[in-house]
Amino acid sequence: MYVPLTWLSEYVTVDRPLRDLVSLLAMSGIEVESVERETPFTDHFVVARVLKIGRHPQAERLSFVDVDDGQGGRQVVCGAQNFQVGDRVVLALPGAILPDGREITEGVIRGVTSSGMLCSAEELDLFADHSGLFLVPEDVAPGTPLAAAHPGVGPTLELSLTPNRADCLSIRGMAREIGALTGAPVQGRTPIVHEDQEGADAATLASVKVIATERCPRYVGRVLEGVQVGPSPLWLVERLAACGIRTINNVVDATNYVMLELGQPLHAFDLDTLDGSGVEVRLAAEGETLLCLDGIERKLRSEDLVICDARGPVALAGVMGGAPTGVKVATTRLLLESARFDPLSTRKSARFHGLHTDSSHRFERGVDPTAQGEAADRLAELIVELAGGRVARGQLAVGEGKPAPVVIPLEPDWVRSYTGVSLSDADISTHLTWLGFAVDQQNNLCWQVIAPTWRMDMAQPADLAEEVVRRWGYQNLPTTTPTAPITSPGRPPLWSVGRKVRELLTGAGCHETVTYAMTPAAWLDQIQLTAGDPRRLVARLKNPLSEEMAVLRPLLLPSLLTVASFNQNRQNRDLALFEIGPVFRCHTSGTRPVELPTLAITLMGRRHPRTWDSPSDREVDIFDLRGLLEHLVAGLKVLPLEFRPNGSERFLTSSRAWSIQRGGEELGWAGELSPRVGRAFGLEAPVMVAELRLDQLVAERVVRDRPRGLPAYPRSSRDMAVTVPGDTAAGEVLMAIRDLAEPLVEDITLFDIYEGEQVGSGKKSLGFSISYRATDHTLTDKEVSEVHQRIISLMGERFSGALRT
């Protein structure tokens, strides 16, 4: 919404500097996005008279022009053609700064000196015009500053309005608002229509019928005859341009002008093109079409509200008129439309047909229900002024023009207690009165407040409380604190888990990432999910920004791979990354996805920073990954995870992959990324990846009421080296010893694995350190030996193992 201050001043006197007005509006809820044309034309812009026009010797399209700038002659190179010797033009002298920021300098254009620039209306930011130079009336003396000869529209506010303030979508509406805020009276004027007393009644010339009365509660028509369509005067063109509307002709411009002035969208039909000389407001029949003013034929739906003549639709109600019945140069008889259409109906039609017009914008937000008659008269008045013609007697009015006002009960005590602002009754009623409300204080505990007809956003006491505080000044709001009992704030079960995981993983050198939940569908192929993989049942966006963000991620892995690739391409290939976030899975296609809290880890390159004495330049392998996960489990104090070798995930190298389980439940997977998948993401080095369900990870915690006491009796440690067949899984041997559940065995560590000459080919040696302890006495050698022997026996029986000697 644009508000030229010169236009505004016809309604209200602004008594303060522009900057103060802008901040007052901002505090009161109307953001001024920019002030256009804020600085008037400087003295570098003057009127000049064309003395001589010569063709540029080297450029066909350019001419050099001798002008009289009031001080004398000067030569300017110019590309326009629309002027003659003697015309008054606008000259920007060297040093002038054009509205678009360009500075004019003296220069040589293709060998010809040009000391200034002749300006078009567009270059002066007056209005859009491609015909050439802006021409000034001939009675202006050369050398007159442009600011004096043609100041233009002047400073214009560009407003950003919230959807509740439909009443501010007009110059008069903004005048009311500014008047209310500053305490300045608003001048109104009633349009004067000189009806043609000798001519026919409007009702005999045209008819208006409303069938869909719920969607069109009010329709006011006016008939004009003998109108002469032509170009609009400069002042009108410029005001419309300042408000972002291009001139079309005097009649159409008048409809737009009155819409901007009063906020009521209007339309003019060429009455002679209306079959049956009248209109009917009804719902469209499915399949009816309308060739709109933008030249596009639209297929209508049965829920579209349309204006029809005897043949069919002539306008999409409140959105756009039809081309065949629009105003053309030859038009002489008009049917003017000033109506009120249902906001939701207008919005749905506008949306469906992809049209967002100045008219639909206003109807969607609501128009003053009492303004239709006035706007029809104002339009008739202006058209007669601009295009001549006679106004036929009477309005063609359908529906109620003065609906019952909105009355809101308001307790002044409640206003004080709701806002926390101590305002007197008189203050409250004064603020409301200034804003156009009528306050009936007969019952001094509970008033009856009547909202002005243009405030469609007023419905309840809270709305009035805002109005009062708004006018009083939001910036004055006191600062108090509520009193509330001390409580223990609840926290979601996984909240502390997330924090602990962050603490443990960052402590172990990992960096947390945050990536988009919307991902490309192609990633599912890139990680080689099979056609039947349930993770392919993704939730798809109906309106993604691009194919790159089309599905909600069913796993975190590809997001982290993309981050790894991004960093690798920036010469950072030593990466330890993790992300905590939801993944989205659908049970069946198209159903609402479940959101699973998930943790993913990616390791690549070296784990330790490279220094003068790095432990090694070794790159990460799956045991770094597993170690990190086991570190996490220990730190979270949850029951240990089982790492089952499992090559079923196709994005993992099958011989280096685990399924992570606990008690038969699958929590996730870990392993080395398949090099094929790595290459698909542009990753060169081996990448270790893991992903597991955070909620399942912490589902089974180590429960311990109190710390165990310190042992009272000493430990006895023994090592053993066992030779077993080379394909024996060392972890299983360890598990088997644990499974013996010997009460005296306190701890078992696998401290060495050896393969080589000393054990013979096809065999390997496992070194275990076993510590023994009893809680109630010091162990004897005999006791330890007995248990140790049982373990050795187990080695032999289960694993064909032999004690190495």
Partner: protein, 340 residues
């Protein structure tokens, strides 16, 4: 004689200090304190002295002897220290580092906000990312066709749901779960169909706040937010309310904080762009229409009212960290992450 004892002592001290290893120290010890040393000889000679000199001379020799013995012992300890620890080290070298990780800056700021409100007694609530239209819009007084829906470009999900456009839906979930009084916040990702640029992202993060109680006021809301701002941005920075519009609050306000960088004194301030104020969040009193939509008698009881606020985590992070391009927060460039 006393002077010759002194020179002997000094000579011995020099040799002890010069002994470079344990072997040579033993030789020095033997030379000055051994059986054939001069000190031993002198002790033996004491008997030959006249009785009146004997006592003083004996004392002098014993003091020297004790002193040298102590020096030898100290030197021995020193030498042991050095030979035990191995060869000399280059002390100019840096240490061996452990890898240092980082919590993402958005999470750090989010956690800070959560902690502040937990401290004020607000519970933490959760709300789904994939949401129904009713929770995201209708229940918040944005029925189908409401122009306010245009303020938020929504991603729709196949199957009739959408990605939440704000965390405000958590207000509804929480109020349907429990009766008033309540104090809650909800933090998390929200989604809007905005193209990625320095100040927009199709996914960003919000923290929602809601308090419902009998006597709370609009001014109390300012008090709670002031307490938050003092913790977040430092004490002594006033808040400023500006009138605004959200369908689910009435009255509504945008909240500015006095620029923490220039406190309104620098017309060229890069943080506040010379305006002196920084917009940090939106808020208001819960619109009674929202309570009505809940259809819960406890929220319709006379006097029940509330206030709500919503803030953008990226916005606060960018202000606090001095970041001008939001994309940095989602690129996950390790060079950036390492700084946190």
């Amino acid at each position: 004689m006393a002077s010759s004892l002194l020179s002997l002592e000094q000579e011995a001290m020099k040799d002890i200090a010069a002994a470079a290893d344990e072997n040579s120290l033993m030789q020095v010890k033997a030379r000055y304190l051994g059986k054939n040393s001069e000190l031993t000889a002198r002790l033996k000679e004491l008997g030959t002295l006249p009785p009146e000199e004997r006592k003083a001379a004996g004392q002098a020799v014993n003091v020297s002897k004790k002193k040298l013995e102590e020096l030898v012992a100290a030197r021995a300890e020193y030498l042991r220290d050095h030979t035990d620890v191995g060869p000399a080290l280059d002390l100019s070298l840096g240490g061996r580092h452990l890898p240092l990780g980082s919590v993402h800056p958005l999470r750090q700021i989010g956690q800070q906000i959560e902690d502040i409100f937990i401290g004020l007694g607000f519970s933490l609530e959760e709300s789904p990312h994939v949401e129904s239209e009713w929770y995201n819009f209708d229940a918040l007084n944005m029925p189908d066709g409401h122009p306010a829906r245009d303020m938020q470009d929504t991603f729709y999900v196949e199957g009739g749901t959408l990605l939440r456009t704000h965390t405000s839906a958590a207000q509804i979930h929480t109020m349907l779960r429990q009766p008033p009084p309540l104090r809650m916040i909800c933090a998390g990702a929200v989604y809007r169909a905005d193209d990625i640029d320095p100040t927009h992202s199709p996914m960003f993060h919000q923290v929602e706040l809601l308090m419902v109680d009998h006597s709370v006021t609009f001014a109390d809301l300012k008090g709670v937010l002031s307490a938050f701002a003092a913790e977040m941005f430092g004490p002594g920075l006033p808040l400023r309310f500006r009138a605004s519009y959200f369908p689910f609050t009435e009255p509504s306000a945008e909240v500015d904080i006095l620029c923490f960088k220039c406190r309104g004194h620098d017309p060229h301030c890069r943080v506040c762009k010379g305006t002196g104020w920084l917009e940090i969040l939106g808020c208001g009193m819960v619109n009674p229409v929202v309570f009505q939509k809940l259809d819960r008698p406890s929220y319709l009881a006379p006097g029940v009212r509330g206030f709500a606020a919503g803030m953008g985590v990226e916005r606060i992070a960018m202000l606090k960290l001095g970041i001008t391009d939001m994309r940095l927060l989602f690129d996950n460039d390790i060079r950036f992450l390492r700084q946190f």
